[in-house]
């Protein structure tokens, strides 16, 4: 089951192919000031990131999921809310100011607190923290009485070829819904209609497992109810998105693009059934194509851009990157357009660059907790099962981040995110049929697994996948299809004690 895709030969081949032709910009990292690796460093990195052969004991450095940035794994709820361990006192101040803005509740305009107004006019949440609860995952509503704040529906319609981006090969042209834009907001300020009410219904299905065990999966169906501005476009494509956990993002941003591309195998040249494609998106910040790293479909290239997009789309707060005071409202939404906005004062935008930088710094430095029980025999057995089953082919365990000229917490760390940050066809069961840049309607970015075992401690639930449909790690595994179907079937068929060990390993991440 071991995946040759991970072997350097094919990786280098794939990288060379992609870099030379179609994917202009994908290897560019204008967001980083990189010190090139020396040959000695490259050799050390190749050795330390090689796949393990010994599963009888933990690997060197394995406990420290985020290298020197790793934080202590406390047993309290705020374990995802600590700053990278290797920040200086001064950086800790920046982190805390960012935290203040992350928690800050925005208010509608006009308001006496000029620095806090600008909410909406339509929005999903009034603060960042309201969706990224305890800096962890959001969740779908538990029932009709529960709020849907930390989940929403994205929307778009198919575009024509001229709506694409010529610089990006295989870019799938889409357009926002002409009335509702690219995201549905279920809240609004006074005098402006909200766009919809999020509704989800589930149907239970059973999955028979080896050893007579049975798992239950819930199959969701989504509905945009109470539409406030008339029907959606006839060809509207909806995609549910739950707020992701916030840990380790700065380290993901610092992984060399070349090392991510090295794992890509878009045409499955090595025939292992697993492709792995890079998403390439247009960066508003740098005005060029860049590798997409963030979001469920890798639709955002940098943390700054992701944060600014979320401010605009989720809270309705404008910034220099997304300057519309009306946020995500379209020209068809006149009440929203003509409402009072919070920009145009001394800060110019509703959040100024200083504020955006603080939130970005905060987001970059939420620390990944250390592993627990790395030497436990069941955990080690589960780790072996994880590799043997082929999980590691996409859930790539290790990277070494770029060495950065200004040093900093993210520079040259051996990290264990368990993701290749590439797109994979995950099958019909998970498909949203809504393309995003190069990602098709069946492709999703491999979700990083670090910290996943602390989800219940942080969030009080264990809802996983892009829409929180999985209620446990096992359910999340069983939803894997497409390229991951072989691995998923192996989990169904394996000895129950191996399955338990696999889950135990995931819980130790």
């Amino acid at each position: 089951m071991f995946k040759p895709a991970l072997f350097p030969m094919s990786s280098i081949f794939a990288a060379a192919m992609m870099a030379s032709s179609a994917l202009a910009g994908v290897l560019d990292e204008p967001h980083l000031d990189i010190v090139p690796r020396t040959p000695e460093e490259a050799a050390r990195i190749a050795a330390v990131t090689a796949m393990p052969v010994d599963f009888t004991a933990p690997a060197a450095f394995e406990e420290m999921s985020a290298g020197a940035a790793t934080v202590r794994a406390t047993d309290v709820r705020d374990v995802f809310s600590h700053a990278s361990e290797n920040l200086g006192f001064d950086e800790e101040l920046t982190f805390k100011l960012g935290n203040g803005l992350f928690k800050k509740v925005w208010v509608s305009s006009p308001s006496s607190t000029l620095a806090s107004d600008g909410l909406g006019p339509i929005y999903n949440a009034r603060s960042c923290q309201r969706c990224h609860l305890k800096d962890g995952r959001g969740h779908p509503p538990s029932g009709p009485d529960d709020s849907a704040t930390s989940i929403f529906l994205r929307v778009s319609i198919p575009g024509k070829p001229e709506d694409g981006i010529a610089e990006i090969e295989d870019y799938i042209a889409t357009l926002p819904d002409p009335v509702y834009g690219s995201q549905l907001q279920d809240e609004s300020v006074a005098g402006v209609p909200a766009e919809y009410r999020f509704e989800v219904a589930y149907q239970e299905v059973q999955v028979a497992l080896s050893g007579g065990e049975v798992a239950q999966l819930r199959v969701p169906s989504y509905r945009a109810a109470n539409l406030g501005y008339g029907p959606l476009h006839a060809e509207a494509m909806l995609s549910p998105r739950v707020a992701p956990q916030m840990i380790g993002l700065g380290l993901v941003e610092a992984i060399p693009a070349a090392d991510i591309i090295a794992n890509a195998d878009p045409d499955d040249v090595n025939g292992d059934g697993i492709s792995g494609r890079a998403n390439v998106v247009w960066s508003t910040e740098f005005d060029q194509p860049m590798l997409g790293r963030f979001g469920h479909k890798a639709g955002q290239p940098t943390i700054t851009e992701q944060s600014a997009a979320a401010f605009s789309g989720d809270i309705g707060i404008s910034s220099s990157l997304f300057p519309a005071g009306a946020g995500e409202c379209t020209v068809m939404q006149t009440a929203c357009q003509s409402a009072t906005h919070g920009d145009g004062d001394v800060r110019e935008f509703e959040i100024d660059d200083e504020g955006l930088d603080l939130v970005t710094f905060y987001s970059r430095n939420l620390g990944v907790p250390a592993r627990r029980d790395v030497g436990d025999p069941q955990v080690l057995r589960g780790k072996e099962v994880f590799y043997d089953t082929g999980c590691a082919a996409c859930h790539q365990p290790k990277f070494v981040t770029n060495r950065l000229a200004d040093g900093g917490a993210q520079s040259f760390q051996l990290i264990w995110p368990y993701s290749d940050f590439l797109l994979h066809d995950m099958g019909e069961g998970l498909a949203d049929h809504r393309p995003e840049a190069r990602a098709t309607g069946r492709e999703w970015r491999t979700a990083p697994l670090w910290g996943i075992g602390l989800t219940e401690q942080v969030s009080g639930h264990t809802f996983f996948l892009h829409d929180g449909r999985a209620r446990s790690l096992l359910e999340a595994v069983l939803w894997h299809g497409g390229e991951a179907e072989v691995a998923r079937d192996a989990v169904v068929d394996m000895l129950p004690e191996d399955r338990d060990a696999l889950i135990r390993f995931l819980e130790s991440l």
Partner: protein, 423 residues
């Protein structure tokens, strides 16, 4: 670069002073003084919280302007020792994992009790921000029905605190009690604190704003919880307490914890989140003790706590002085100029925080200083911010002096060291 004790055996640079040949002051003695100060500080916090609880009992049993004022006085007094213990955060894991229960802020006070109509509203998407538990014996939380007929400490700590994962849902601790004693400060940037009438606790027809008995129950439950949380923490610093033992088990990490606490409280927490953020946002709600307008004292005693642990002396509430061998003694042996610099910087900070306190007590409360365009107020606050930042620069130099004297670069490939990092 600072270091923390969590992975002290693994991080690249460990403050590893230990017992150098010429130093007379032992790490263990410094740590004992430090732990003694912590123990005394938490004991004083406990004693003053017990007095607060007694005052709350009197208020509930015999509501009057006098008993309300007595409870407010007790609350202010309780803040004096507690704020001086904040320097034990950021380095002592036991304190870090516990602190959110007693001193969390800012809070959505509408969770607890009635609020002014200008505050949020029922359409607010943090629905429980206007839940008003005092008025609501039964409600729905995250889709579950909660029976709050009886308001107990367990209800506050296990169900309401950080309800729905929203950090602003603060249901326990000093600031929840503060809100119940003062009410909302509706004066914005103008003079005046919260002005809750004593009749909010009155019985029968005298009761204002409804549910006075349940309000009293909440206040009592929150005060009881504070007492029990402080009882637990004080015990952690006993002779056999876990917090004291953790320090003494690894004296290198212990010295590091002192400096980390001093630096992190000075810089990120106090200068940053509690002071500069308020100026950035010009928001009167961005003050630490916003209901009582006691923020100047919170800042002052936070600063004093930092000075305490460096000088190795703490003034107890009963008049006794806890003192012993200190970090200052150690640094004065190693580098007298650096020690003098640290003492000067700490004094400067206390001077600047003292000016904020002086102005506030004379009538310019902290929320007034935050008003956009109040240049004098901004200068006062920035004086404190700059002094705190400046003293952290010296703390960093002490870290590097201690590190340089006995520096240990851990072998990163050490197999017997699971916390090693690749570098």
């Amino acid at each position: 670069m600072k270091n923390r004790p969590f992975f002290a055996t693994s991080t690249a640079m460990v403050v590893a002073f230990a017992t150098s040949a010429f130093a007379q002051v032992e790490d263990a003695a410094i740590l004992e003084t430090y732990a003694n100060i912590a123990q005394a500080g938490y004991e004083d916090s406990l004693t003053s919280a017990q007095k607060l609880l007694a005052a709350v009992d009197s208020l509930v049993a015999d509501p009057s302007d006098l008993t309300l004022q007595a409870a407010q006085v007790a609350w202010r007094a309780a803040r004096v020792p507690y704020q001086q213990t904040e320097v034990f955060r950021f380095g002592n894991a036991i304190v870090d994992d516990w602190e959110g229960k007693v001193n969390a802020w800012p809070l959505d006070e509408g969770l607890i009790d009635y609020v002014d109509a200008s505050y949020g509203g029922p359409t607010d998407e943090n629905e429980i921000a206007v839940l008003n538990v005092v008025a609501t014996p039964q409600f729905t939380l995250s889709g579950e029905t909660i029976d709050a007929t009886e308001i107990t400490p367990a209800l506050l700590s296990d169900t309401l605190h950080e309800a729905d994962g929203v950090e602003a849902n603060v249901a326990t601790g000093y600031h929840a009690i503060e809100f119940l004693l003062w009410g909302q400060d509706l004066n914005g940037h103008a003079a005046g604190a919260g002005a809750r009438p004593w009749t909010d606790y009155a019985t029968g027809d005298d009761c204002t704003n409804g549910n006075c008995d349940r309000r009293g129950d909440y206040l009592r439950a929150a005060s009881e919880l504070l007492v029990s949380d402080l009882t637990w923490m004080a015990a952690q610093w006993d002779e056999d307490g876990a917090a004291r033992q953790a320090l003494l088990d690894d004296s290198k990490a212990g010295i590091d914890a002192i400096l980390t606490g001093m630096g992190s409280l000075s810089y990120g927490e106090q200068a940053g989140e509690r002071m500069r953020l308020g100026l950035m946002l010009n928001d009167p709600e961005e003050e630490h003790d916003c209901f009582s307008d006691n923020t100047h004292n919170s800042h002052y005693y936070d600063g004093l706590g930092i000075q305490n642990v460096y000088l190795g002396a703490y003034q107890r509430a009963d008049g006794r002085l806890v003192e012993g061998p200190s970090l200052s003694d150690l640094i004065s042996e190693l580098d007298p100029v650096l020690d003098a610099e640290m003492r000067t910087k700490l004094s400067q900070t206390m001077l600047k925080l003292g000016r904020i306190k002086t102005a506030a007590e004379a009538g310019l409360s902290y929320d007034m200083m935050l008003e956009r365009g109040n240049d004098a107020g901004e200068a006062l606050v920035m004086g404190g911010v700059n002094a705190l930042i400046d003293q952290t620069r010296t703390i960093e130099r002490i870290v590097s002096v201690l590190g340089a004297d006995g520096i240990e670069i851990e072998g990163s490939d050490s197999l017997d060291n699971p916390g090693a990092v690749f570098e």
